[in-house]
Symmetry: C2
Subunit: 270 residues, 2 copies
């Protein structure tokens, strides 16, 4: 299977330009599965919920998914892209999986970062794994990475590959993805944007360096800190199926669930 | 609080030499809490369960804890050390916390690595947090690191500092500890051994590079790949108490427990 990412500088508040940019870069990408950044058409910074709503779109009949459906069909490609999703009165920071058939699946970001909490509704989809021609594909978005439960849930549900659209501003995620892949024996595609966004006195610098990491923690492809980039690598997804570590260990069977206490925060406040 | 690690080359099957080595290095350490490597007196490689049993000792009246009790009292120091623990008919790969008062607490390694499964009984203690003069100290041993649930459980139970005696042979742990500290906002003391152990045609090369990492992922101290080393740093343990990340996020309060599915391995086999 050929998996890849597309890294570019999303233009703040200009969905038409961004749609065109994704179309242009997708047309130059030869992959079975490709990941675009988080909020790939709207940009990241908003000044009001109303503005965010104006830049969000329906997944059923919005223009971005229409464009991606066309390309997915033409190129027989699965596309995972971050998008501000309008659904009734809610706006979600979502990622949509667009299939060559035109069918779509959606993940709605669970852990909202910073001011996203002002604009978006927390995701209610949970972490799900989708079948892509026999390969099991999970999705998380950006800040979900810092919660080990995100990848763990996806991996325990059988994900071979985790698609990870991102708008990273902190510098830690890219290396942490090596840990995530090692502990879960999965492939990870982190598609990050680059560039600087400024709105109403706020500034966010996005850190680029998109990455594809293999199930043994090996970096298979990497984008630059700044600059457009398409990277595609050929992988064998079955490497993610065998969780054995040497002769005696298994990353999943060795888990001692009865000795973990993961639900509470018992004595935190003092 | 002054926290540190001691790194040395544990001598295979020579508890007396190793006890002397730890005594000598502890006497040169000025810390409130110091961590020694895993299996600090027995060495790591065994050729039979019987041999391991012969090198294991009681925590109540064995010679290693007696030595460490003396030093802990003399220097008003808390010592965490890996030890092959004999308890009835069982041998555990344990870590003992020795207090200046002479009191001890024990953690028994949950996730046994490789041939350890042949010699040791899997730990039944669970992951517990111990009070050290108002500071909350958790313990895990070596391979526990690769299971994110180990640190997560300790952190959710309130650990400020995780003591991590290790005999690392894989090269990934040291950097992964940055991720563990970031995701849990804790301090980590990984006390690793160095050197090569050979027994009955088997060879293990231990990777040194012991580390103290801070709750924001910063490497505060680091040992060499090979060579004896004592490192001590002054820390403010309360940095681990505040899990806020910027104005809107909290590493623990933002957890969406209802959306995690961490107990099973649903569709793994195909």
């Amino acid at each position: 299977m050929r998996i890849g990412f597309i890294q570019y500088n999303v233009k703040s508040g200009d969905p038409e330009w961004n749609r065109g940019k994704t179309a242009e870069m997708l047309a130059a990408t030869d992959a079975d599965l490709v990941v675009l950044p988080e909020l790939a058409t709207s940009g990241y910074l908003f000044t009001s919920r109303q503005e965010a709503a104006g830049l969000a779109e329906s997944l059923d009949d919005g223009p971005a998914v229409a464009v991606w459906r066309g390309i997915a069909a033409d190129r027989n490609m699965h596309i995972v892209a971050g998008i501000a999703e309008k659904a009734g009165d809610n706006i979600y920071n979502s990622a949509v999986l667009v299939r060559p058939s035109g069918g779509i699946d959606v993940y709605r970001k669970t852990h909202l970062f910073h001011e996203e909490k002002l604009w978006f509704t927390p995701g209610d989809s949970g972490f799900n794994v989708f079948d892509v021609g026999g390969v099991r594909v999970g999705i998380m978005v950006c800040f979900d990475w810092i919660f080990p439960e995100s990848c763990r849930t996806l991996a325990l549900k059988g994900a071979d590959i985790i698609c990870h659209p991102a708008n990273l501003v902190l510098p830690y995620c890219q290396d942490a993805m090596i840990t995530r892949c090692l502990e879960n024996r999965v492939f990870m595609i982190t598609a990050n944007r680059y560039g600087t966004e400024r709105r109403a006195g706020k500034e966010h610098i996005f850190t680029g360096c998109s990455r594809i990491v293999g199930p043994f923690g090996q970096v298979l492809a990497e984008g630059p800190e700044r600059g457009d980039c398409i990277e595609v690598v050929e992988i064998d997804h079955t490497e993610a199926r065998n969780k054995a570590l040497g002769e005696y260990n298994d990353l999943f069977k060795d888990r001692q669930i009865d000795l973990y206490e993961l639900s509470g925060s018992a004595i935190l406040s003092e």
